[in-house]
Amino acid sequence: MTTTVRVPGTTASFTSHPWVRFAVRRLARLVGSVLILISAAFLMIHLIPGDPVRSALGPAATKSLIDARRESLGLDDPLWQQYLHFLQHLFTGDLGTSITTGLPVSDVIRDRLPATVQLAVAAFLVAVLIALPVGLAMGVLTRAGRRPRTELSFTSTTVILAAIPEFLLAVGLVYFFAVKLHWLPVAGRGNMSSYVLPVISLAVGPAAVLARICRVELLAVLQTDYLRTARAKRLPAAAIYLRHALPNAVTATITLGGLLLGGMVAGTVLVENVFGWPGLGSTIVSSILAKDYPLVQGVVLVYGVGVLLVNLVVDVTLALLDPRSTIRES
């Protein structure tokens, strides 16, 4: 028989610490994702059929103007050189120049980013604050097949709300609250009241989805063996739900909440267009239509990084909440 020689204690203690390993793994993934994102944004311009400069400047542009623009954008260099330049500029915070306005893309983004972030964060908070309590309460009320009628109406309401696209909801809300009732402004970003409609239109769909998920998660937790153990301890109902069920249901909900927040970041595109909101969402659409590709590129990058950051926050939160996460991560 073979004898395996085993040297005890050879593993380095620092790198084997679960948190260090978690951080290293997570950062590696983030860097990988960002690189893919950057490459995709770079390639985007080169994948477009035809000459992006010509299509941006329109048929009236002279050849010398187009050549000059191509020159200044470095579009005639070999691809890998362009990629290196692109990376170099990115690191110095230079995202290029908008073709249509001639302004630096980074200025445009700095100008417009806050409006979008405010909108997304406000909508996220509203959605979570509504969805979590509602979903959990529905879970408790309809556990083990109780109140089938409540369950049916809850499910159908949330399905319907989740199926209404945010831009349509926005249009409807504008019609009723702004056009008909004159309670709230139709469009634009100003005082608090101008936030109400955009935030609602952005929050309703995700809130409905989140509430359903919450309920399902809670029902799943209520089925677990450890909840039966808690009942066998004869704890009062409040302790069972708040101390045992809630933390476990929320852990699972956060993952999906993160996805929803990511989705909301994208949802701003539509809502901003309805409300003429001066954010990145209306910028990206107008720049796509104007074929202002450097600007599109910059905004896509910002959106992408935003989504990746949200995912990072979710993962770290989960790791903090779940004592097993660092061990089980695979």
Partner: protein, 637 residues
């Protein structure tokens, strides 16, 4: 298969969604054939008008009828959405199945790429691809298809991985089945349902996404129009002419809902069986005066029934008493109602399950029925919380994974014994020590996953010892453990019984375990106790044919090797189709006519021995018959 589809369409949601979806698809098919003309007719006399008898929803800036335009737009909207979904599904399937076909390394790469791509929201991807593919219908279809692919790939991967780790795939590999055949014959058929369901829901999503792109002006371009473009164009006129903007929106929502609802209904019908059955009448238990003359009795159960909607009654009239410091074992096949009995006794059956009993009292206090109402719920909870302990089968899942072991032990004591945090923790550590968990102080601060199975089971018993238990109900406490660990846990239970005079109800499917540690054994079959006898008599004095067959069927270290093992022919009874006579009759070789018509009840056969059988065995004549019988020995299923 077909039956399940029919069942889905029978539910109100399923039927509604099915009809809606059919109507939407029909409209998409027929509308352009019937109303193209009306939709494109320019009426210069009625530009941008509101609704009228002639134009129900008014007209647009060229005087075209909006109602007809919305109807006709259905085909473009739905067709494009379906094509985009098709692209997403096909690409997703290809990416998701790649790990099966390409082997491990290439598979891992696609998985990593999909995992990164899926982190980005679909709309963002769609915008990206819309730029790449160009603005217009073709670009938008490709963009939405590509954008939907990652999530389908992820879904496929998850489903494939779930099927691939099942043993039949391993068995097929061993049988020499190639990769393609594996995918086609074994994997795809087993993931088809969830894929179809999600594709349907995905089509709803694609419809909305398409409307979004067209609304932004990035989708369908004039002169073609879909619902999104109709909406986008009338947005500016919303002051004067809201219907023009809202009508196509409503159409989008209805069509999207049709897809979503139908998908959900199918998912529900295929995944979880509908819980809504004929509800049992809420019946308050008929309770007789609880005149227990036996002071020594810890638990008295008389005529206990547990039933569920269906209606099925898996526990049918069980009576037993457990005395102080007694270890009573319950054995029986799976499905015989052992665990339900334990849960019912512990008051842990959740609705819609229902518990009925002539008497159910613990330490003299009634737990059920009118008499129980008199003692307050709080007092009852406290009594159970301190004196009644439960140990469950699976130590891996019976602790809350997010809380420290010590906290979970201390919790009950803080609640019922009024200890403060520190006292309760000290007691928890003391109890962990009592169940011989090494380094109890440190262990109390650990989480369940840091404990081994046997240690967790001991901690669970320690949890029961936090108060001053009079009864421990242990439901298969050692089934999930190894034999050597099983012995440790059983010995611990024995020690507790001897030292603290605690009664134990030990449930097990393993008759040898029960025979080893119990004073008395209850044999259950089909929700009844068929025999109640002292454990010492089990090996030689069992009288019920089922008990005897059970004993003969389990090999132990002394089983003679020359003969085949005894077997019990047939299958356990289905609780939904309980026969009228003796439930064991179909499998019993001693069954007589009477057995099939009359149900035997539990009658005394000597002191401490009860049997429910018309034809109890155990005589010398029985021995001869039993051992000579072919059917029991080699009986086929």
């Amino acid at each position: 298969m077909r039956a399940r589809w029919i069942a889905v369409l029978r539910t109100p949601v399923g039927a509604g969604a099915g009809v809606l979806l059919f109507a939407v698809l029909l409209l998409a098919l027929l509308a352009p054939l019937l109303w193209s003309h009306q939709a494109s007719a320019i009426d210069t006399e009625h530009l941008l008008e509101g609704s009228s008898a002639k134009h129900w929803l008014g007209t647009d800036n060229l005087g075209r009828d909006i109602f007809y335009r919305v109807l006709v737009a259905s085909r473009t909207s739905i067709l494009l959405a379906l094509v985009a979904t098709l692209i997403a599904v096909v690409m997703g399937l290809a990416l998701g199945c790649a790990p099966v076909l390409l082997g491990r390394r290439a598979g891992r790469l696609t998985t990593a790429v999909v995992n990164i791509a899926v982190a980005f929201p679909g709309l963002l991807l769609a915008l990206f691809f819309a730029v790449v593919f160009g603005v217009g219908a073709k670009g938008a279809v490709l963009a939405i298809g590509f954008a939907g692919a990652p999530s389908f790939a992820r879904l496929t991967q998850t489903l494939v991985a779930g099927v691939a780790e099942r043993d039949f795939v391993a068995a097929a590999r061993i049988a020499g089945v190639g990769r393609f055949r594996m995918l086609l014959r074994h994997i795809l058929p087993n993931i088809a349902e969830p894929l179809v369901v999600n594709a349907t829901i995905g089509a709803g999503g694609a419809l909305l996404a398409f409307a979004g792109l067209s609304f932004l002006g990035l989708g369908v371009q004039p002169p073609v129009y879909d619902w999104g473009r109709l909406m986008g164009e009338s947005l500016n006129g919303i002051y004067v002419h809201p219907a023009a903007a809202l009508a196509p929106g409503v159409a989008v929502v209805i069509a999207g809902l049709a897809f979503n609802l139908f998908g959900e209904a199918v998912a529900k019908g295929f995944g979880v069986p509908a819980m809504i059955g004929p509800r049992l009448r809420e019946r308050s238990a008929e309770t007789m005066p609880a005149a227990t003359d036996d002071d020594e009795a810890v638990l008295v159960v008389k005529d206990l029934y547990v039933s569920f909607p269906g209606p099925i009654t898996p526990v049918r009239g069980i009576s037993f008493t457990i005395g102080k410091g007694e270890i009573v074992g319950v054995v029986g096949e799976s499905g015989s109602g052992k665990s339900l009995t334990a849960l019912a006794v512990a008051q842990l059956i959740e609705p819609p399950g229902q518990v009925r009993a002539a008497e159910l009292s613990f330490l003299g206090a009634p737990l059920l029925g009118r008499l129980a109402v008199r003692s307050t719920a709080a007092a009852r909870r406290r009594l159970l919380g301190t004196s009644f302990a439960m140990v469950f089968q699976d130590p891996m899942t019976s602790f809350n994974p997010t809380k420290r072991i010590g906290t979970q032990l201390a919790e009950g004591a803080r609640e019922h014994q009024g200890l403060n945090r520190r006292q309760a923790m000290a007691r928890a550590i003391d109890r962990l020590r009592a169940v011989r968990v090494p380094a109890a102080g440190r262990r109390a601060r650990q989480y369940p996953h840091e404990f081994s199975g046997g240690m967790r089971q001991r901690a669970m018993i320690g949890m029961g010892l936090m108060g001053a238990p009079a009864l421990i109900v242990a439901d298969e406490p050692t089934t999930a453990l190894d034999v050597t660990v099983q012995r440790q846990v059983l010995r611990l239970l024995e020690t507790i019984r001897t030292e603290d005079d605690v009664a134990i109800l030990l449930i097990s499917h393993d008759i040898t375990v029960v025979a080893q540690v119990c004073d008395r054994v209850l044999v259950m079959y089909a929700g009844r106790i068929v025999e109640d006898l002292p454990a010492s008599e089990l090996a030689t004095g069992a009288r019920h044919p089922y008990t005897r067959a059970l004993l003969a069927a389990v090999p132990d270290l002394d089983t003679p090797l020359e003969e085949p093992l005894a077997v019990i022919a047939g299958r356990p009874v289905d609780p939904a189709a309980m026969p009228s006579g003796c439930a064991f009759a179909a499998r019993c070789e001693f069954a007589e006519d009477r057995c099939r018509s009359e149900d035997p009840s539990l009658v005394s056969h000597g002191p401490d021995h009860q049997v429910a059988c018309w034809n109890p065995q155990g005589t010398a004549a029985w021995q001869a018959r039993y051992l000579g019988s072919e059917s029991i020995r080699t009986g086929q299923l």
